[in-house]
Each structure stands twice: as C-alpha cells, then as structure tokens.
C-alpha cells in the first residue's frame, strides 16, 4: 500500500461561517480500495468537510489531492470530473422521473434524449452485473422504496465514473435489512477498487463496515485509527470528548400506586380502520413502562389518545379519576391540567414549531400558566428568562432562547421539548421515540433525565421502535402487534429474542 498514492488527501482544510469555525485544520488520507468512516456528533463538521470536497463550499485554507494530484474543486461539476460521487442524506432525485432519467440528468451524451437513454440503459445493465445493484430502469422514483432510491443515487455516481463515493448518513432512512444490503453493496464496490467515505454518527456501522475511521469533534479531527484496533467505547469517548455510558445506569424500580389504568381501549382512525383493538395496561408511579413494537402497530395512536389529540373508546383513569376520551375535555390542554406531560414521537411536527424561537416553543401548551401571564398579555420577559433557565439545566446548546427551533440540532430540539414537559412536574410523562435522530452525547443525557423523573416517583410511558432503548430504559415492557398487546415482560427477565418474537406477532 505504501507505494500507492492516497485516493484522497486533504491537507489543513479550514472553513469558518462567520464566527463559527466549522472545520479547523483538517488533514486526512484515504487509501484507494478502502472504506473510510468519518464519525462525529451532529454539528461536528462532517457535512461541511464533505461539502468542501463536493464543491459546495470553498475552503478558507487547505489543499485537496485526488490520487496524488492537487485538485481545485470550485463546484460540483469539478468534483464529478475529479471522480467524486456523493450520496446525500436527503436524496437528490426528481420524484416523477424514471430511474433512467435521473441517472442521465446532467450527464447526457448529446442534445437529444433518446440516444442518451439507450446508452444509459446498456451501461446500467453492466453496472448492475458488476456491482449487484439491481434497479428497474423504467420505474418512477416516487413509486420505489427508499432502499432502491439510494441504489439509484449510487448508480448515478457510478454512471459518472466516480472512483470515490461519499455517503452521508446513508442508513438514516433504511430498515435494518436494507442497511445490511447497502453494506454488502459497499463491500462489493471496495472489492472493485472504489474508495468509499462513510459519514455517520452510528458506532455500530463504523465497526461493521469500515477499514479506517476518523473522528471529528467541534470542527476538529480528533483521531484517525484502524477500525480493527479500536472499540465502540473508545470512539464514543473520542466523539464526545469524555467517557460515555453506552448503557443506562439505573437502579431497580420501586413501583408505587397505579397512576395510569387503561381498560379495553379502542382507537379507530380517520379511514375507519381499527388501530388499537382493545388493550389493557397499567403504569405505576416510579416505573418506566416501555411499549415495544414495529412502527405502525398502534403505539402512535395510543400516545395520541393519551396526549389528547385522538378520540377513543374504553376506560382510562389517571390517579383513579376517569379521563375523557372524546369531547371537549379530551384535548392537550385538559391533559396537561390533569398532570400529563407529552414528548411526542415526531418532535418537528408535534413537539415544536420549527420557525418559532426556543422561548415561544417553551411556552406552548403552558402559555396559560400564571407565571407566563401579565394581565391579558403574555409576559414574554418571564417566558424568556424561564427558558434560559431550562436551557441551562438541560444543557441545550447554544443556550439562546431567541434562536428558532429549526436551528438547533436534533438532540437539542429534543432537550427543549423535554425541559418543557419534565419541569412541569407531571404525574405521567408520555415519551415517544425520545432519541430518534439524536446524537450519542444527548442520548445519554435524555435517558438520565427520564430515569431521574422516574426516581422522583413519576409514572412514565415510553414508546420506542428501538428495542435496545426499550430494554435499557424500561422497567417493564409491553409489546404491541396489530393493535393488541402481545405480552408484558419485566425487562430484567427478557431479551431481544423473546421480544422480537412478540413483535412479530408470535404468542409468547
């Protein structure tokens, strides 16, 4: 290997956006025919670095060498010419075009389409054979699954004769099976001599797929190591800058009185389909009950009913008092006055208004509380200072209440929602997908906050599609399948295998 020039070499790349130093003196060498991982938390500067490599940004300082030659990349066209292909996290495909049309877009052979399409069809078949990437060239993008869409993106790069393939968080939208298939394809590409850069914040993917890995933290490259010579714990520490617990540290629960009691709950959706088919469930004070299940088996509807924005039939009591399941006292406001806090599954649509500031978002749902009022008007100053306190206690970065919600990272957005709901001291906290799209450092913090609330003797109902998270966080697990609860287990006495069977609808 020593005699070969690196496929890509970056020397001293720096890039600042105003006062923010997104990349600081970054140097990296990637040898041809390897898979190189770049890992780091959200906002560590991974995407900026790749944007520089793909010609979206011009670096303030530094040099790029492709296969040993110094290369200027002022725009995407230059990147393509240099043999760099990029698969973005959000695909850049034209939804109502066919696969073939998307592949030739921008790389047509002449002014007329037909010859280009015919040639692309032939090339596509060759590429399919060579790399095992099967797609239907005449399928329309919006009608194929995300896994295949991603293969189209890879084919787009290969069609442009890319030797270097950059993938930005490629598994974010994939199911585990699709992710496995992707990694098999990447392995095949490596065998054929392609160089692959895999950007991710998931440790597992780095360990499974890469040969070497670089860690980024706050714009700096903190380490580059051989994957075989490192461990997830070491990488996590390098990413976050301190030791990270990859599992939740908690004492056994001491459940008290029943807080939430659900009997025969049924939910019918807008289309008239019964989504929850009569479930019974209890949540006690001082325990975390986790609802496991593949997405779409009625968990979301359960949360919506308890949160007060879907109607249901059945019997639900909170601290022994019945809860309205329809009518005018079945809304978010009534639920909050009854002492139910809610961290919704989709924080960007149900938890926050993305264009509104952090302090406005902190007031939502509680805007009628006395502390936030000043006569007939909102006391904005009080809300702001309260938000400042919440942001500090929940370690929201940057701690600026005036910033709109959309300018925070996923983890920090979730902390804003959590702070709003937890600090109201609810008797029951509903938590949906608490760590979806959240980076490692924040996951640890969020889990700690939920456990701390439990230890204060509150009841917590947790819905998550991450089985690992359920097992780590919940004291008791109920598995939902097709609107039913298939079974309940104490998390200390069960494992992924048993729960996995229940999730697939196999009776325990």
């Amino acid at each position: 290997m020593a005699d070969k020039a690196p496929a890509i070499e970056l020397k001293g790349i720096s890039k600042a956006f105003g006062p923010v130093q997104a990349n600081k003196d970054i140097s990296i060498r990637v040898m041809p025919g390897t898979i190189h991982g770049i890992i780091g938390e959200n906002g560590a500067g991974k995407s900026t670095l790749m944007s520089i490599l793909y010609g979206f940004y011009k670096a303030d300082k530094g040099e790029i060498f492709i296969a040993g030659n110094k290369t200027e990349i002022p725009d995407s066209q230059a990147a393509i010419a240099a043999g760099i292909g990029m698969v973005f996290q959000h695909f850049k495909l034209v939804e109502n075009f066919t696969v073939l049309e998307n592949i030739i877009l921008g790389a047509e052979d002449g002014r007329l389409l037909r010859p280009s399409l015919a040639k692309a069809r032939k090339t596509l078949l060759e590429l399919e054979r060579e790399y095992g990437l099967n797609v239907d060239p005449d399928a329309v993008i919006e009608e194929i699954g995300v896994g295949m869409q991603q293969r189209v993106e890879i084919l787009k790069a290969l069609y442009r004769r890319a030797d270097i393939l950059i993938l930005d968080e490629p598994t974010g939208v994939l199911t585990p099976a699709e992710a496995d298939q992707l990694f098999r394809i990447l392995g095949r590409l490596r065998e054929e001599g392609k160089t692959i850069i895999l950007i991710t914040h998931k440790l597992r993917e780095i360990m499974e797929a890469t040969d070497t890995v670089s860690v980024m933290r706050r714009g700096e490259m903190t380490a580059t190591v051989k994957t075989s010579e490192t461990s997830p714990a070491e990488l996590a520490e390098l990413m976050v800058g301190r030791k990270v617990l990859l599992r939740v540290d908690k004492t056994p629960a001491t459940p008290g009185d029943v807080v939430l009691d659900i009997k025969g709950l049924k939910v019918v959706d807008d289309q008239g389909v019964e989504r929850v088919k009569g479930i019974d469930l209890q949540v006690r004070a001082g325990e975390i009950v986790g609802i496991a299940g593949v997405a779409g088996n009625g968990q979301s509807e359960l949360l919506e009913v308890l949160g007060g924005y879907a109607d249901a039939t059945g019997e639900v009591t909170l601290n022994g008092q019945p809860l309205d399941l329809s009518g005018r006292y079945s809304d978010g406001r009534s639920r909050r006055t009854r002492g139910i806090g809610h961290v919704p599954e989709d924080r960007q649509r149900e938890g926050l208004i993305m264009d509104f500031s952090a302090w406005e978002n902190t007031a939502f749902g509680y805007h009628r509380s006395d502390a936030y009022q000043s006569g007939m008007l909102l006391n904005n100053a009080a809300i702001r200072s309260d938000t400042e306190g919440k942001m500090e206690r929940f370690d929201v970065r940057p701690p600026d209440p005036a910033l709109p919600a959309k300018s925070f990272s996923g983890g920090n957005q979730q902390k804003i929602v959590l702070a709003r709901e937890i600090e109201r001291n609810p008797d029951l906290l509903l938590v949906g997908q608490p760590t979806r799209g959240v980076d490692i450092g924040a996951i640890e913090f969020i889990h700690q906050q939920i456990v701390a609330l439990r230890d204060q003797g509150k009841a917590i109902l947790l819905v998550s599609v991450e089985l690992e998270e359920i097992l780590a966080l919940a004291d008791r697990v109920a598995v939902m399948f097709d609107g039913h609860i298939m079974g309940e287990r104490l998390s200390a006495e069960t494992d992924e295998k048993e729960l996995g069977l229940l999730m697939a609808g196999v009776e325990g």
């Binding site: 850049k92 034209v94 280009s116 787009k156």
Partner: protein, 322 residues
C-alpha cells in the same frame, strides 16, 4: 344552426384561442422550470403596446413584433432578476409586472401619440394580414371540405399558424431534448440538477426568456393581428385565463392546446349569443360564458376533474443547502 355558422364559430374560436395558447405555453415553460408567472398578463400588454407603437412608427409589423418580444423579454428578465437572482416572492414580482405594464403602456402611448392612450390604427404593412393558403379559393366550393379549408384553416395571420406549430415543438423540446429534461427537473427538484453539476440559475433564466418570447408574440398578435392598434388594457385578463388553462392542462403542451381551444370557444360563444339561444333554447348572459373559464378552473383546483399537481419546486427560490 347551419354548417356555416359552426364554421364561423370555430374560426373565431381559433382566433381567440391563439393568444391564450401562446401565453399558456409561455407560462408552461416558466412554471415547468419552477418559476410561477402571474405576470403573463402584463407582459402581453406591454408587448401589445410596443409592437403596435413600433409598427405604427416604422410601418413594418415585423419590426413591431420584434419590439413587442423585446419588451416582454425585458419584463421577463425583471421577473427573473427578482425571483431567481434575488430569490424574491414570485407572485409579488408578477403582480408588480402587471401593474407596471398596465400603467406604463398608457402613459407612454399618451406621450408618443396623444390619442388618449391608444396607438394610431394600423394599416397595410403595419399589420399582420390574413394569409390565404394555396388552393383555398379553388376548393371553396367543394362541399364540407371546401368551407373547412377555406374558412377555418386558411385565412389566418401567420402568428396563428406559428402558435399552433409551437405546441408540437414545445412537446418535443420538453420530452425529447436534454434541455427539456433539465428544465423539467429544475422545476421538480433543483437540488438534483445542482448536484448533477448543472446551473439552476442558467436553466431558470432560459425558461423565463422563452416565456418572454412567447408572451411577446401573444401580445403582438393582440394589437397587430386580432385588432389594428393598441388600446388601454387590451389584454383584458387573457394572461390569467391562460394561467387557468395551464392548470386545466396540468402543465402539458397538447392539453394546453385543448384547454385554450375550449376557452377560445367560450369566448367565441360570448359574442354569438344567438347561437346559444338557438341551440339550448334559453337566453344566456354573455358574462356567464366569460366567467366559465374561471368557474372551470375553480372546479379543477378543487380536484373534481383529477388532481392538478404543479411542478413541485414551483414558486420557491432555490437556496443551496449546507
């Protein structure tokens, strides 16, 4: 209702559909590239004035046509500057162009000709005259085919034939050329075009310029072919009807032809109420027919006649994401 009345009615349908068709295809190019254009009306009006004015001053309708196209393209570039380069709101920019054209045409007309905001009546070479196609006279007496050829197909100005020719050309450009593929892509997902190494801004400017040219021809047709001279507000909402037709056609060239012919027929019927009375036996107010294109557009937009899905990136300025 006799055969000749039908022919006459269809003949005037063609005349009235022509400016709608040109404006509709103009809008099609622009909107397919993601630039909404409610300034079609203003561009047509400006082109109508400048082509009539220059034709009156030079005595040549062809120079007039060029002037009309020039005026329309200038307004298109203004729209492009506001909405592509400066990423402004496309609707507001379009409204501004409509106001600008409505006011400036009358003002300049008054300044140049002092005839109450009109241009002088155009005569001779300053106007597009009807073209008699070969054998029209010879065939005129053949039953059925004769009148259809002589009255309906022959005897229009060159711009009418140009407009109808533009339909297959538009279709071919959009669906059979590289430029068309990129144009459609930039209206659906500009990020895909950008990451493929093609200039989003360049494509969108090309689209608005084509839009300007077609709008210019539409406007010139109004003042130098359909009528003989410019009068205040002579576009009379045709730009908006063309937009309605564009939605009705779901942004497809051939359907744009059918939609504008239908709307042209409504226009023709508006002036021939005797025909309607004869056919359905009830007297219908002309205004009702004038309103029909809009009523139909509302029905279409409400989703009764299949869904009209506009280009997905329409109306949104393209900003590169990080």
């Amino acid at each position: 209702m006799d055969f000749l009345t039908v022919i006459q009615l269809l003949d005037s349908t063609v005349r009235l559909a022509t400016p709608l068709l040109l404006a509709c295809l103009a809008g099609l190019f622009s909107e397919r590239a993601g630039i909404f254009d409610i300034g079609l009306e203003g561009k047509m009006l400006a082109a109508a004035f400048f082509s009539a004015a220059v034709a009156a001053l030079t005595g040549s309708v062809w120079i007039g046509l060029l002037a009309g196209i020039g005026a329309s393209v200038a307004l298109s570039l203004l729209h492009g500057l506001a909405s592509i380069t400066f990423r402004g709101n496309q609707l507001i920019s379009g409204v501004a162009i409509n106001f600008l054209a409505a006011g400036l045409t009358v003002l300049i007309a008054q300044d140049w000709f002092s005839q109450g905001g009109r241009t002088p009546s155009l005569m001779g070479g300053a106007r597009f005259e009807p073209i008699t196609l070969p054998f029209a006279d010879a065939l005129a007496d053949v039953p059925v085919v004769g009148p259809v050829y002589a009255e309906l197909i022959s005897g229009h100005s060159v711009l009418v034939y140009l407009a109808f020719l533009t339909v297959p050309v538009t279709w071919w450009v959009l669906f059979r050329t590289r430029f068309g593929l990129r144009l459609r892509a930039v209206g659906e997902n500009p990020a895909a075009v950008d990451t493929a190494g093609v200039s989003v801004i360049g494509l969108r400017y090309a689209a608005v310029v084509i839009c300007g040219v077609l709008c210019g021809i539409a406007g010139a047709y109004l003042s130098t072919a359909l009528q003989a001279g410019f009068v205040k507000d002579m576009s009379a909402g045709r730009g908006f009807i063309a937009l309605a037709a564009l939605i009705f056609a779901k942004w497809r060239p051939w359907h744009a032809l059918y939609a504008t012919l239908l709307f042209g027929l409504f226009g023709a019927l508006e002036t021939r109420q005797d025909v309607i009375t004869a056919v359905i036996g009830i007297k219908v107010q002309g205004q009702v027919l004038g309103a029909l294109p809009y009523v139909m557009t509302v029905i279409i937009l409400a989703g009764f006649v299949g869904k009209a899905i506009p280009p997905r990136a329409g109306g949104e300025p393209y900003v590169k994401e990080r």
